[in-house]
Symmetry: C2
Subunit: 518 residues, 2 copies
C-alpha cells in the first residue's frame, strides 16, 4: 500500500510516487526549493552535420539513434490537441522496437490517444504523467495503470522539468513547420496550431530532442519558436495531425441564459471591483461562459473608451478582434484555440508567443500570472471554504487536466464563474473530491444564484458592500441548491488504491486521486 | 612562473589560468566535452514582487541586494560599444562599496572603459576576461594586470558560461528599453543598440541578473530580447549610453583603391568558386573592405536575378538595403552596426535577432556558422600555412578582440581579404605572433597582389585552375611584399610573463600572449 501522510491542506497524500520521494504540500508559497536547475548534457558541433541537415528517415530510426531503451521518459506536447498523430506514431514505433515500461510525459493527452491504453496493457508504457482528458483518465481511474499518474499544471510541468524532478530522456516535438536544422514553428503549415510553448521546456532540458514535421522548409524556419540548436534530429511525416481537430475552427459564446447571466454578473463584478480601468489586464478561457464574459467586458471597454494593456490567451477570434480593434495593446498567448488565433499570431506583432516559463513557472523570478488584474476560470466543484477541484467529478472519476488553472490562481483577483449545479449535481459542496486550488487563492465565485466573495478578501467585501449585485454567502447559495436538487452529491465509491497524485505549482503533492469502484 | 606545455598547434600554452586548470588545444573539432551544462539556482516566485515590479533605487542598492562580495564575477555586454556608461557605473559603485578582486567578464571592452585601469590599480578589479579593444589591451600587454586575461570568441564566451567554465555571480545588462519586470529590448529607446544577444547567456546562467535601463516602459516590454523571468532587479539610470558612440551612424565603404581591388577580387572569387547562386548565404563584417565586397556581390545578384536565402550580420545599411530590395529573404543578425540596422531590426520581420547560442556556440547541437556558404573576415597577420592572428600586432601588443571571428571559420568557405602589408609592415608572415585560427580552417587569402588558395582545399584549387583571377602561391606573395618593405617584420620584444590566454571555440587554449617590453 502507498504510504500516506496528511499535508498542510489536510489531505492524505503519498510520500512516494513511482519509487521517488514526494514532498507533501506545505501551503501556498511556503515550500522553499534549493539546489540548481537541471541541465542537458554538453554536446559538440563536431558530432552534428556541418551543413545543418539533421533529417533522418523515420521515427523508428530517430528513436533508435536516440538510444531509446526500457524505462525511458518520452516528452510530448499537446498543441495539436485531439488532432495529434505524432505521439501515437512514436509509441507505436517504440512498441515495434520492443521497448518496455516507458513513462509518457505529455503536456496533456486527449481522446485521440486512446490507443495508448493498449500499449499500457502490453507493457510498452508504464504510466502517464500528464493531464488525461477523457478515456485515458477513465482508464487511470479504474486503477489499471501500472504506475501512479502525476497531474501537474502547465507551470508545474515546466517546474518539474526545470528542477530535475522529471528527467526527459527523449522529447518528440510535433512541429507544423520546421527546417532541416530543427528550427520549428507552430504558426504556419498545413497543421498550424499557433505556438509550441508547451514543448519549450522539453526542447531545452531533454537529453535528446526529435522534431517531427509535415512541412519542411529551407533553413531558416522563421520564427523559430523551437530553436534548432536544441534539436538532435528531424523527421518528416506525411501528416502530423488532423487539422480539423487541432483547432476548433470557431469557438462559440454560450447560448444558455444561465451561463449568460453568470458571464454578465462576472463582468459587472469586475467593473464594480474597480478592475476594469485603463491599462488593466485579464485572462479568460475559451469556454462559452468565459468568452461571453470577455464580450461583456469588451462592450464596457468600448463604451468607456478603456483599453487593456494586455490580455492573456488561450486566444480566440474574440481576443483577436479586441487586439485588432485596439482594445488591447497585446495578447500574451499560451495557446491558440482557433484559426483566427493562429492567423493573428502569425500576422500581428502585438500577438505574442509565451510559454509556461514566462507565464506560469513558480520556480522562476516571478511570472506573468500574478500580474493579472483578473482571471476567470472554471471548476468541477467548489467547497464552502472556496477550495476548488478541476480534475475529478463528484463521482471520483478523473476526467480533466489541470492546464494553467492552478497557475492562474496567483492573479490579483481569481474569479470562478460556475453554474451552481450541473445535471442535478451541486457544484458547491462541503469538501471538494480532489483539492486542486486552496481556497485562500480563490477570491470570488459567481453563480446564476449570486456572487460569493471569499471573506479573506476583506477589501473586496468592503468595496462591494453597497453593490446592487447579488452578493451572498457561499453557504447560503449551497443550501439553496441542495434544496432544489435534493441534497448534497452522493459520496463517490472509491477504493484504497491511489491512482494519481496532484502536484501543486511548486512540485509538492496537494492531493491524490483514488481508484473508482463499480 | 606559469607552467607551459606545447599544444596540438605547436604553441606554448599555460596549463593553469588564474588558479584553474586549462586544457591545451587538441586540434579543431578534436576536444570531446563531457558532463552537463551549468544551471542557475532554483528560485521561487514567493521571493519576488507579485505585481512584477522589480525596480530598485540605484546600481549600488542593486549590487548590495545581489550580495556583491570580494572575488565575484560580474558579466556585462558590449552592445553599447564605445558609448557604454553602465559597466563604468557598476564598477564605480562596487569600488564605493569597498569590494575587491572582482573579475570583470564583459563580452568586449572599449576605450570608453579606460577608467577600469584605475580600478585595477586600486584592486577593485582583479582582471578582465573578455576582448580588450585599445587602452585596456595595451594595459594588459604591459603586464600590469593582476590576473591573466582570457580572450574568447563570442561563441567561446557562450560555451564557457554554458559549460560552467565561467560562473557569473552577477550579470548587469544595459537595456535600451525595459519594463519593471525586467523584460528588455535593444531595438528601441533613446540609446537603442539593436539587439542584446551578447547578454543572453548572462541572463540565463548568472546567479543574479540586474537590468539597467534609461527607458522604462509599462509591462510588457515587447519584444523581450531578454526575458524578465531571468531578471532579479531593474535599475533606472538617466542615461545608459552615449547614443552617438553606440552606433557609428553610418558605416562607410572603402575609398582606398587597393582595398576596393581586394573587395572586387573577393567577390569575383566567390563567383568563380560557384558560391554566388540562388539561395546562397554569406557573412561579411562592417569594415570598409567587407562592405565593398557586399556591394560587389549585390551588383552580381541584381544582374543575374539571384537571391540569397540569408545573410548574417553585423548589419549595416547595406545589408538592410539588400533585405528591403528583396535580394535576401533574411538577415540573421548578431549585432547592428548602424542606425539603419537598428531600425530594420525593429521593423522588418525578416531581420532576425540571433545570439551566440544560435550562431556560434561550438558546444551545441550544431550552429549557424557552419552553414554559411562564404564568410569574409579580417586578420592582423596570416602565415604561410594560412594560420591567422586577429588579436595582436606584429609588435606583440594585444589591441583587438576576437569577436565572432574564430566561430566563423567553421563556414564552408572562409576568405580573408587583407592588404599584404600595412604601414610598411607585412601582413603575410612566417609564423603568426598569436595563433587565433588554425590554417586548416582558412581557405582563401585575397590581397591586392593576388589570391592564395589553401592547398588543403583541393576542390577550390581545381575549380579555379583556369581562372583569369590572379591565383598565386602564398609564399610567392609574401616574398614579393618583403621585397617591397625591406624584409619580414622585426621580432617583438616580449617578456616571459603570460598576460593573456587565447581560448579556442571549444574552451581549450590555442595560444597565449606575452608581456611586451620596452
Amino acid at each position: 500500500m502507498t504510504k500516506l501522510v496528511t499535508n498542510a491542506a489536510g489531505r492524505q497524500v503519498p510520500v512516494e510516487i513511482n519509487g521517488a520521494a514526494a514532498v507533501p504540500f506545505q501551503g501556498a508559497g511556503k515550500f522553499v526549493p534549493d539546489g540548481r536547475r537541471a541541465a542537458p548534457p554538453i554536446r559538440a558541433c563536431q558530432d552534428y552535420p556541418a551543413d545543418g541537415n539533421k533529417v533522418v528517415g523515420d521515427i523508428k530510426t530517430a528513436l533508435r539513434n536516440a538510444g531509446l531503451r526500457d524505462g525511458m521518459t518520452i516528452g510530448s506536447h499537446h498543441h495539436l490537441r485531439n488532432g495529434d498523430m505524432v505521439a501515437n506514431a512514436v509509441f507505436q514505433a517504440a512498441a515495434e522496437l520492443g521497448v518496455k515500461d516507458l513513462r509518457w510525459f505529455p503536456s496533456a493527452s486527449f481522446p485521440c490517444h486512446a490507443g495508448m491504453i493498449d500499449l499500457m496493457e502490453q507493457g510498452v508504457i508504464h504510466h502517464i504523467e500528464g493531464s488525461m482528458n477523457g478515456p485515458l483518465g477513465d482508464y487511470c481511474s479504474s486503477g489499471k495503470m501500472k504506475g501512479m499518474a502525476v497531474l501537474r499544471s502547465h507551470g508545474g510541468r515546466w517546474q518539474a522539468v526545470q528542477d530535475g524532478e522529471v528527467h526527459i530522456d527523449i522529447a518528440v516535438i510535433a512541429a507544423p513547420t520546421a527546417d532541416p536544422f530543427g528550427n520549428a514553428t507552430g504558426d504556419r503549415g498545413p497543421t498550424a496550431c499557433g505556438l509550441l510553448g508547451f514543448a519549450l521546456a522539453d526542447s531545452m532540458y531533454a537529453d535528446h530532442v526529435i522534431a517531427v514535421t509535415d512541412n519542411l522548409v529551407p533553413f531558416p524556419c522563421i520564427p523559430w519558436q523551437i530553436q534548432g540548436n536544441n534539436v538532435d534530429q528531424v523527421v518528416v511525416m506525411d501528416k502530423i495531425g488532423d487539422a480539423s481537430k487541432i483547432v476548433s475552427g470557431t469557438t462559440e459564446i454560450t447560448k444558455s441564459p444561465d451561463r449568460l447571466l453568470i458571464a454578465e454578473l462576472t463582468a459587472r463584478f469586475c467593473d464594480e471591483a474597480g478592475i476594469v480601468r485603463d491599462g488593466f489586464s485579464f485572462q479568460a478561457g475559451a469556454g462559452g461562459t468565459a468568452l461571453s464574459f470577455a464580450l461583456f467586458l469588451r462592450d464596457m471597454m468600448r463604451e468607456r473608451n478603456i483599453k487593456a494593456r494586455f490580455v492573456r490567451g488561450g486566444s480566440t477570434q474574440y481576443l483577436v478582434d479586441m487586439l485588432e480593434e485596439g482594445l488591447t495593446d497585446y495578447i500574451l498567448d499560451g495557446q491558440t484555440f482557433d484559426l483566427e488565433g493562429v492567423r493573428s499570431m502569425r500576422e500581428n506583432a502585438g500577438h505574442v508567443n509565451t510559454s509556461p516559463f514566462t507565464s506560469y513557472n513558480w520556480h522562476g523570478k516571478g511570472n506573468f500570472a500574478s500580474m493579472l488584474d483578473a482571471v476567470v476560470l472554471g471548476a468541477t466543484e467548489v467547497d464552502v471554504d472556496f477550495n476548488a477541484n478541476v480534475v475529478t467529478h463528484s463521482d471520483g472519476r478523473l476526467l480533466h487536466g489541470i492546464g494553467g488553472w492552478m497557475n492562474c490562481l496567483a492573479s490579483k483577483c481569481t474569479i470562478l464563474p460556475i453554474p451552481s449545479f450541473r445535471d442535478r449535481i451541486p457544484v458547491l459542496v462541503d469538501k471538494v473530491t480532489t483539492l486542486c486550488g486552496p481556497g485562500e487563492l480563490i477570491d470570488v465565485i459567481v453563480t446564476e444564484r449570486g456572487i460569493a466573495i471569499n471573506p479573506l478578501r476583506r477589501d473586496l467585501v468592503d468595496k462591494l458592500r453597497d453593490s446592487s449585485l447579488p452578493i451572498r454567502d457561499i453557504r447560503e447559495i449551497k443550501a439553496e441548491v441542495e434544496e432544489i436538487v435534493g441534497g448534497a452529491p452522493a459520496a463517490p465509491d472509491l477504493g484504497d488504491k491511489v491512482v494519481a497524485a496532484i502536484k501543486w505549482v511548486d512540485g509538492t503533492v496537494i492531493d491524490c486521486v483514488r481508484e473508482v469502484r463499480g
